[in-house]
């Protein structure tokens, strides 16, 4: 077995800022004829390399716009990096913006199957876990109601319950510990803590340094898309605190 769960090798992610607005053919042709098709290149990540050992819980620190979410999306496979590569060993579960795959016209029950399929589960697995999911999300009464009538808390609860049904090897958390009301938050934290016990590798993004310190044993610090520091949580958080002063 490989020693590392995630290897990020010299990853760069480039965005062409002006390109994003050009989505009509006419605009494109005019700009092209005028020779104005120049792009504002923007590197959200540049030369980022680090390795995460199995069982490590790594906090990703950085100010707004440092590239934290981009990095998570590159690791989750949503973005293909412009340069470099990411090697992952094991099953990865991203808890990013829960319930993004829901269809609002579908009922809760139908969405459980849809979202599970999006996450790559098998049908047998969902059949087996269906009751657990409903119970954990506390939606027994509303499971046959179209999801457009759900409150946003109900939706995130359902998303969380589905996404945490598997035993992942790598877990990506983006500020999800603040799901739902106080009672559900406790429950979801307990669930995540129980996952930690099974030697899962965690990548965690949060603006709350206390939370990061409580959960993680390692950390990396990003600044303007560059990796500034990596190492034990205490060292890195000291540097981060220095910078935010």
């Amino acid at each position: 077995m490989a020693k590392y769960a995630i290897e990020v090798n010299d990853v760069g992610m480039k965005f062409n800022l002006s390109q994003e607005k050009l989505d009509s053919l006419k605009e494109y042709m005019i700009k092209m004829l005028k020779g104005e098709l120049k792009y504002n290149e923007f590197w959200a990540l540049k030369n980022v390399s680090f390795k995460v050992e199995k069982g490590d819980r790594v906090g990703i620190l950085g100010l707004n716009g440092a590239g934290k979410s981009t990095l998570l999306k590159v690791i989750a496979g949503v973005f293909k990096p412009t340069e470099g590569q990411v090697i992952k060993h094991g099953r990865l579960v991203p808890l990013l913006e829960l319930g993004a795959g829901f269809d609002s016209q579908y009922t809760g029950a139908e969405n459980i199957y849809l979202y599970s399929a999006v996450l790559g589960y098998s049908k047998e697995f969902v059949d087996e876990k269906f009751d657990d999911i409903v119970k954990f999300a506390e939606l027994e009464k509303f499971i046959d109601v179209p999801i457009k009538n759900y409150s946003s808390g109900m939706k995130t609860r359902l998303g969380f319950a589905i996404a945490t049904q598997v035993e992942p090897d790598i877990l990506i958390l983006d500020e999800v510990l603040s799901v739902g009301d106080a009672k559900f938050r406790k429950k979801s934290e307990a669930k995540i803590m129980s996952m930690f016990k099974s030697n899962v590798t965690v990548l965690f993004v949060s603006h709350s340094l206390d939370q990061v310190k409580r959960i993680c044993n390692k950390a990396i610090l990003l600044e303007h898309g560059q990796l500034v520091a990596a190492g034990d949580i205490d060292e890195v958080s000291a540097i981060y605190e220095e910078k935010t002063k």
Binding site: F15, N16, Q19, E20, D23, S24, L25, K26, Y28, A76, G77, V78, F79, K80, P94, L96, E97, A100, G101, D103, Q105, Y106, E110, Y113, L114, S116, A117, V118, L119, G120, Y121, S122, K123
Partner: protein
């Protein structure tokens, strides 16, 4: 490489099935007659077309409604399939931005769910052949060939359109116009012989050739009498799939920057 592709496809087979199911379920949700519309809709439009055009072009032909229905069913699958595939990437932008899924699943599922609806609507055709006295013989089995070509052509065109429309949204409107042109050059509600000097239009339209072959099978004739009408659409539909898949594959990593 191919082995890896097959492995991911297997992993996401469940998603493909769920998306096909979703397309069918949501299409008729909240309408009182539900899935029955798959049968009613072609039936009613055929009635209209027969009343309007039958008096012009089909006076001497009692089976004219069957002629119209075959053309209309195949054309409307092509039209709705390509349109759904074209919009599928933008429609699923929310998912694409958050979770990794092989992206071809979206246009593929759009084409497939429309194909299922189309297959159900073929029931109407069976009824119509009996009512209007078109009695198919064994040649009807060859109908499978134009249907396969139709599926390939729709998928290929859908892949090309879905790739292009990510970068140029105008295409969604342009394609509506193109579809209208395609409809009029498919001889859905008139006989080809009436068109005289414009015969060449049909020789370059693969969809017309597919409809022609399908009609031959339904009317109990041998479509291979004129092999050109089988070879041309076969070549073009395979070609469209090749071009579509290559285009899609080459550009799919850029999609996320544009949706």
């Amino acid at each position: 490489m191919l082995k890896k592709q097959l492995k991911t496809f297997k992993k996401y087979r469940f998603l493909l099935r769920e998306l096909v199911k979703k397309g069918i379920k949501l299409k008729y949700r909240r309408s009182y007659l539900g899935i029955l519309w798959t049968l009613l809709e072609p039936l009613l439009t055929t009635c209209v077309l027969t009343i309007v055009f039958g008096t012009f072009f089909g006076k001497d032909d009692k089976t004219f409604p069957v002629y119209i229905l075959t053309g209309r069913l195949l054309y409307s699958f092509f039209s709705s399939g390509t349109k759904a595939a074209m919009k599928s990437i933008r429609q699923h932008a929310g998912m694409i931005k958050k979770v990794y899924v092989p992206k071809y699943i979206y246009p593929l599922s759009s084409v497939l769910f429309n194909f299922v609806i189309f297959a159900i609507s073929l029931i109407v055709l069976v009824g119509a052949t009996l009512v209007f006295g078109v009695y198919p013989n064994l040649w009807v089995l060859t109908a499978i060939l134009p249907l396969i070509m139709l599926l390939l052509l729709t998928f290929g065109a859908g892949m090309i359109l879905s790739t292009l429309s990510v970068f140029f949204r105008d295409l969604e409107y342009l394609w509506d116009v193109a579809l209208m042109l395609i409809m009029y050059t498919c001889a859905i509600f008139y006989k080809v012989e009436k068109l005289g000097t414009y015969q060449w239009v049909f020789k370059i339209n693969p969809l017309f050739a597919i409809i022609k072959d399908f009609r031959a099978a339904v009317y109990g004739q041998n479509m291979f009498h004129e092999p050109a009408w089988v070879i041309m659409p076969a070549v073009l539909s395979v070609l469209s799939v090749l071009v579509g898949v290559l285009m899609f594959k080459k550009n799919q990593d850029k999609f996320i920057l544009h949706i």
